[in-house]
């Protein structure tokens, strides 16, 4: 192996283990996990859902995440990427990660098969403040792959159905083929009591009988009430931008709007100094922010 990996610094030629800290479970060393199933979410295959399990049962037991949190996923030889966890903690293992093919790590994941080994560490980041939402109506607004982090939250809230008021799910994608989690949006969620699912696409096809509208416009047409409500939104930046305007038109205040952010991350634990917006690190202080929190941050995003 390359002898150059120590660089100008103390050479590790005769390593002495001290302090007992060289044991497993070190911060930046992932757990080994296995991909047990891969499912295409979209017609074009650019989004896939990976079901993964950790190889060590103790590690699975020690793991506990809450909606909004993320996992650092490794493909060895390629790298690591921060991925939002798509499955609700109420559903246990295997963990589900829905991933769009965008770069090197996600590309390598898309190229892998069931049985392949990956690395997993986390969960990282804050979470959606669900305990603050007790008794409130929930409005979920998502676009495309933006449903991934929200799906975990929706399942979590529906598992604790009695704690919340009406649940309204507004979801859109570019085309019917780009709608993710078809089982959830067409079957599972709308069967829950007091839950509505409203779908739209930018451009329909011969199979599509539903509305064709951009998510923000569609949302304004639906006209959900801001009264005693929280809006959770996630999607591509351009959709978010206009959705926020639509929500404001509908009367939602900045405190009533929650979203999740993403930036390039290398450590996920607030050390590498990369994912900051002002003095906040998205990895440890986020990814979940209310709109009023975001407005306090420098406009660099």
């Amino acid at each position: 192996m390359n002898a150059n990996l120590v660089g100008p610094g103390p050479s590790g030629e005769t390593p002495v283990v001290f302090g007992g800290s060289a044991a497993a479970g070190r911060l930046l060393v992932p757990e080994v996990a296995t991909i047990i199933d891969i499912r295409d979410e979209t017609a074009s295959g650019d989004v896939k859902t990976f079901k993964v399990r950790m190889d060590r049962p103790e590690a699975e037991e020690a793991w506990s995440h809450l909606p909004g949190q993320c996992a650092m996923v490794s493909v060895f030889g390629v790298g690591e990427a921060m991925i939002s966890i798509t499955s609700s903690p109420t559903r246990g293992w295997p963990l589900e990660l829905s991933i769009k093919r965008v770069g090197r790590v996600t590309g390598a994941l898309h190229d892998s098969q069931a049985g392949d080994k990956i690395g997993l560490r986390g969960p990282y980041g804050n979470r959606f403040p669900t305990e603050e939402w007790k008794g409130k109506n929930l409005l979920f607004v998502a676009g495309g792959i933006g449903l991934a982090p929200v799906r975990c939250l929706i399942d979590y809230c529906l598992a604790h159905r009695d704690q919340f008021g009406h649940v309204d799910i507004v979801y859109g994608a570019r085309s019917p083929g780009d709608l993710c989690f078809k089982d959830c949006i067409f079957n599972r969620w709308s069967r829950q009591k007091d839950t509505t699912v409203s779908l739209t696409v930018d451009k329909g096809d011969e199979t599509w009988t539903g509305p064709t509208a951009l998510v923000p416009m569609f949302l304004e047409e639906l006209g959900p009430s801001p009264k005693n409500a929280v809006a959770i939104t996630c999607g591509p930046p351009i959709m978010i931008k206009f959705t926020l305007q639509s929500l404001a038109k509908l009367g939602f205040t900045d405190d009533q709007i929650v979203t999740t952010l993403e930036l390039k991350m290398q450590c996920g634990v607030g050390k590498c100094g990369r994912c900051n917006i002002g003095d906040k690190y998205v990895c440890v202080d986020g990814p979940v922010f209310t709109l009023s929190q975001i407005k306090e941050l420098p406009n660099e995003f």
């Binding site: 192996m1 390359n2 150059n4 990996l5 120590v6 660089g7 100008p8 610094g9 103390p10 050479s11 590790g12 005769t14 390593p15 002495v16 283990v17 001290f18 302090g19 800290s21 060289a22 044991a23 497993a24 070190r26 911060l27 930046l28 060393v29 080994v32 296995t34 490794s74 060895f76 030889g77 390629v78 790298g79 690591e80 990427a81 965008v102 770069g103 090197r104 996600t106 049985g115 392949d116 080994k117 690395g119 993403e262 930036l263 390039k264 290398q266 450590c267 634990v269 607030g270 050390k271 590498c272 100094g273 990369r274 900051n276 002002g278 003095d279 440890v284 420098p298 660099e300 995003f301």
Partner: protein, 373 residues
């Protein structure tokens, strides 16, 4: 001003005994020290027999000693994946073993203080970076007080001093006190003051005694106090010009200032300032390997590089030099201050000396003071 800790031990080290003392230290640890290299002074690992190359005269090594706790490239783990006859796959991860203990010999008080600023990042919060921690735990810092601060020095602008002990286990003070001149112009001996248990152990060891590290002669105690105080009271040239840095809260309102565009125009987006800086700690993580096995390592990265924030899908939140330049100075003077209550700078002056285009922190501090809110 923070109160001065009570010394754990004080000794007298003859200049002629330094080599033997360091040789004794090298036996148990890796010693890193400033070494003269073709006109430049560089911090690097001392090979056996190089004790006499140690350069205690040049105030600034070109590089900072931060590599001792955050090497420019540091292996985090090794991985090896295999496939058995039936196509079953397995992956083996081995965290890298802890490093050898390191003694940083002859660092300046500013660089010693910088180590403490790393602690804020790597050892606090919900996560302790144990790769860092094992290096930090194994680190002993022997600082040398500055007889004559360099032109670019401004540690005093951050409440540090040429004789300060922050981050140091032992500080060596030339017995003759601050002053001009060549390395040999000193008195031929250092007062060695240990401020920590680690430092005390270093001074009290039998190896130290064998090298001539001796008790301070009776009756010289007052001189020692006077000498140490003189070092602590020393002013720095640029620090005197700059005064105490006090721009953290002012910068809260200057994120959108057109000033950043102006100051950034000169930047050439190299990483010199970040790499020579003793307090810049941002890093990246990458894998290197072939045939299913390899090493995952972290490496120094720089917010000055355009790719620093580039995301996989192609979005770059800081595509312009303006945003990147602002990030570096805001990080040091504002963001870090918000998070940890102090500035991410120790005033060593390396950015002043090394920036190819003369764009550095004291200048920015001075100019920010003059900006309208």
């Amino acid at each position: 001003m923070a109160s001065i800790p009570v010394p754990k031990a004080t000794k007298l080290v003859p200049r002629t005994g330094l080599g033997a003392w360091i040789r004794a230290l090298t036996a148990g640890s890796t010693v890193m020290a400033p070494v003269k290299d073709e006109g430049k002074s560089l911090f690097r690992e001392l090979e056996p027999g190089e004790e006499d190359l140690i350069d205690l005269h040049t105030v600034h090594t070109v590089n900072s000693p931060k590599g001792a706790i955050l090497p420019q490239t540091e292996a985090l783990l090794t991985y090896q994946s295999t496939t058995d006859g039936e196509g079953g796959k397995s992956l083996r991860l081995e965290p890298t073993a802890g490093p050898r203990p390191v003694i940083l010999f002859g660092v300046r008080p500013c660089d010693a203080a910088a180590v403490e600023l790393f602690n804020n990042v790597f050892l606090t919060g919900d996560f302790v970076d144990d790769h860092y921690k094992s290096r930090r735990d194994g680190l002993t810092v022997v600082a040398v007080a500055c007889r004559q601060p360099a032109k670019a020095c401004f540690c005093t602008a951050f409440d540090l001093s040429p004789g300060g002990e922050r981050g140091a286990d032992v500080v060596l003070y030339d017995r003759s006190g601050p002053g001009r001149g060549t390395p040999d112009a000193g008195s031929g001996a250092f007062y060695a003051v240990a401020y920590t248990d680690k430092g005390e152990a270093l001074l009290e060891s039998s190896e130290a005694a064998a090298a001539g590290v001796a008790p301070v002669p009776a009756g010289e105690g007052q001189d020692l106090g006077r000498v140490v105080a003189a070092y602590r009271g020393l002013e720095t040239p640029l620090g005197a010009k700059l005064g105490r840095v006090d721009v953290a809260s002012k910068l809260d309102n200057l994120f959108e200032s057109p000033y950043w565009e102006k100051v950034a125009a000169r930047c050439i987006s190299c990483g010199t300032c970040t790499f020579v800086c003793p307090t810049c700690y941002c890093f990246g993580v990458a894998d290197c390997g072939a045939g299913g096995g390899g090493v995952r390592f972290r490496y120094w990265d720089s917010c000055k590089f355009p790719q620093f924030m580039l995301m996989a899908a192609g979005h770059n939140p800081r595509p312009a030099k303006k945003a990147r330049t602002r990030q570096r100075f805001m990080h040091k003077l504002n963001y870090y201050h918000h998070r940890y209550g102090e500035y991410l700078c120790v005033g060593c002056g390396r950015c002043v000396e090394s920036c190819p285009v003369g764009l550095h922190l004291p200048q920015v501090v001075g100019e920010v003071r003059g900006l309208e809110q």
